[in-house]
Symmetry: C2
Subunit: 255 residues, 2 copies
Amino acid sequence: MIGRAAAIFRVNEVIIFPDDPAVNQSRDLNLISTVLSYMETPQYLRKYLFKVKPELRYAGILPPLRTLHHPVTKKLRDLKVGEFREGVTVSRVKEGVLVDIGVERPFLMENKEIKLNKRVTVRTTALSPEPEATMVNRKEVPSYWGFQVTASDMPLGQLVKQRGFDLVMATSRMGTPFVNVKEAILTRWKNAYQVLVAFGAPARGLYEIAKLENIVLDQIANFVVNMIPSQGTETVRTEEAVYAALAVLNVATMG
Amino acid sequence: MIGRAAAIFRVNEVIIFPDDPAVNQSRDLNLISTVLSYMETPQYLRKYLFKVKPELRYAGILPPLRTLHHPVTKKLRDLKVGEFREGVTVSRVKEGVLVDIGVERPFLMENKEIKLNKRVTVRTTALSPEPEATMVNRKEVPSYWGFQVTASDMPLGQLVKQRGFDLVMATSRMGTPFVNVKEAILTRWKNAYQVLVAFGAPARGLYEIAKLENIVLDQIANFVVNMIPSQGTETVRTEEAVYAALAVLNVATMG
């Protein structure tokens, strides 16, 4: 659900952070980030990038993302020159490396430094006589192109300090109703390059997480916001809060 | 997910309608509405109202709603006079009927007409010497009090005609972006008693459903709205669309 929400609402990065500094949560962080990375990786590249791991035992039931970076075309003849694709470098040849982009034949990329078995974003430059592509920065791709997954070993407060986001919104049932801070958020949003929207964990909300870290949530966040005014249930699950908050922010910021 | 979303966003009724008039979908309608009704029923009343049914084989994994009408108090001594509870009429006595409201002892309700094994909403009127309660209309309860579940044998167009909603919003990727019609919707919303927000099915969206019914979606809906502008994925699942649309409407109408 988190992976699907991230893709639907065009999230660039999902950061998983520990919610209790007293406990070593590296296994949980690793499980969640492995599953999310797997989901985000185009199906034809998974065999290169993921070994058979116990964390991925149930990965077969994960819903497909159906983003543009998970193309359904599998034939060279259906490709166009100038198309963006995700690929993996599979072997070295004298002109550079060959990249598997999910069609019958690999594409030649003139790059001699790049390592093998590395995921890259490419743009096709020729389809015949030999298929060729050039590496691009994913930021150059004009469409939504998936999310990075980061497992943070730092708790929230440290993470916020270290990453230097331009806008930090914490979500909480105890926060200010969104409408009351909407204009202030949108003003900052327009000039922000990196926005963090933080969510609590299944076991505890952000105020409690901050307390365990000995920080004050309102001091590390620019806004602590309630995105679900008058909720009909005692609790809202993390994944539900993610859908609700991102849906509201999507409409507010696209408007 | 649909049941949880309905409760979080305080939905009064969930209507399941067939999405293809050429197919007899009564089994699917029955499965979905049975599962939703089960979820909506307080746990202590399920034994009276649901027999062991194959549709409920996996009901044990359904997440609890955690609404106020699913109270956690199970002891008579923790109740207060004037509290609202859901109950089931379990036996007839000379003064009326006894109602199980989820504590050790049933409550006497002075009502001689009501049938047994019927779900009722009550307000406690005395805790001792004998526990007593009076039946109330659920509309009198000041808090959100769960949703009704309706399995419609009519397709969408007929349903809309027959029920006479004051405002019908159809959701579709091809609809008008919400911000463009927000003010018009809110104006009607304020004066509306019954609002329908319609969603497509997993297999087809509302435009396609309408077409199969030989009706024009824009003629039966006051607004056809896109609640997820610039979606990052090719498709949005019904349950995802429900969270997104209800979250946006909740913030817009509470503001």
